[in-house]
């Protein structure tokens, strides 16, 4: 199965309102500091980047390190400026990439 994402953004907001955004994605976030049963190091495999775009403009960016928990959760805020699309993009080791988008209506 591909990565499952779960984002929470209000469907509607007032212009200028500060809205809460929560983004969750399935990923093991293998740290690169663990060993398997035979003593072989397990290579690092993590999400390294998360970006949020509001109608194409980047409003939030995060750089993730191995200390971010499995199934990374990031919550932040943004100002509801106009109706349109809010996009989320995750990128990581071994070519990992995932994307999700939602619409928001401004009253």
């Amino acid at each position: 199965m591909t990565a499952r994402t779960l984002v929470s953004v209000p469907k509607e907001a007032r212009r200028g309102e500060v809205i809460a955004i929560k983004a969750l994605i399935s990923h093991d976030m293998e740290t690169g500091f663990r060993y398997d049963n035979t003593g072989k190091p397990i290579p690092r495999d993590i999400i390294t980047q998360f970006v949020c775009l509001y109608n194409g403009i980047e409003v939030f960016r995060a750089e993730l390190h191995p200390a971010i928990s499995a199934n990374p959760f990031i919550a932040f805020y943004t100002v509801a400026t106009e109706s349109g699309k809010i996009e989320f993009k995750w990128n990581g080791d071994n070519g990992f990439s995932a994307a999700e988008s939602v619409t928001i209506a401004i009253a």
């Binding site: 500060v18 809205i19 740290t31 500091f33 398997d36 049963n37 509001y54 403009i57 409003v59 939030f60 960016r61 995060a62 750089e63 993730l64 390190h65 191995p66 200390a67 971010i68 928990s69 499995a70 990374p72 959760f73 990031i74 919550a75 932040f76 805020y77 943004t78 100002v79 400026t81």
Partner: protein
């Protein structure tokens, strides 16, 4: 004040005392060596210098919230809130979460701006052991502010055999 001045209380001694208080009479069995050979106050300092480029780091404006004690270090809820009007002229440009005793000092770095409206970020982090966590905020005027918090990571009693 420089980064060297922040209070680093989560020493091994602190850990053992905490463990003993927590586990009562059996606390002493916890006094086996905790391998913090990879513990990294020095690499933490290096990571801070990389963020601040030797600019002064001041205590304040940043509020780091995390539980004082957790039963499991695999997913610790953490929130960093920075005091700022978040206007074009005066806003938070970046927030960094750092730790002193995981294998690597950096945990999360976020870039934001006036469009955030509110300079608050929350996530869940892994903590290898009891330690101090630090959050650093970079402001639009080039100043750096920080907060620290100590967290006690308890030992899990019934872990699954790996694999």
């Amino acid at each position: 004040m420089t980064a060297e001045h922040y209070d680093r209380r989560a020493t091994r001694r602190g850990f053992l005392i905490g463990a003993a208080q927590l586990a009562g009479g059996v606390g002493l069995v916890l006094a086996l060596p905790v391998n913090d050979g990879r513990a990294t106050p020095d690499t933490l300092q290096a990571a801070i210098r990389k963020i601040t480029s030797e600019a002064p780091l001041q205590k304040g404006k940043v509020k780091l919230e995390l539980p004082a004690m957790v039963e499991n270090g695999n997913a610790v809820s953490i929130e960093v809130a920075v005091e700022s009007p978040m206007t074009a002229a005066d806003h938070v440009k970046a927030i960094h979460i750092l730790n002193e005793k995981n294998p690597l000092p950096n945990v999360l770095s976020v870039q934001l701006g006036p469009r955030a409206g509110k300079a608050t970020v929350a996530t869940r982090i892994r903590l290898a052991t009891t330690q101090q966590i630090m959050a650093v905020a970079e402001m639009s005027d080039g100043s750096f502010w920080f907060d620290t918090a100590d967290i006690f990571v308890a030992l899990a009693a019934c872990q699954e055999d790996p694999g």
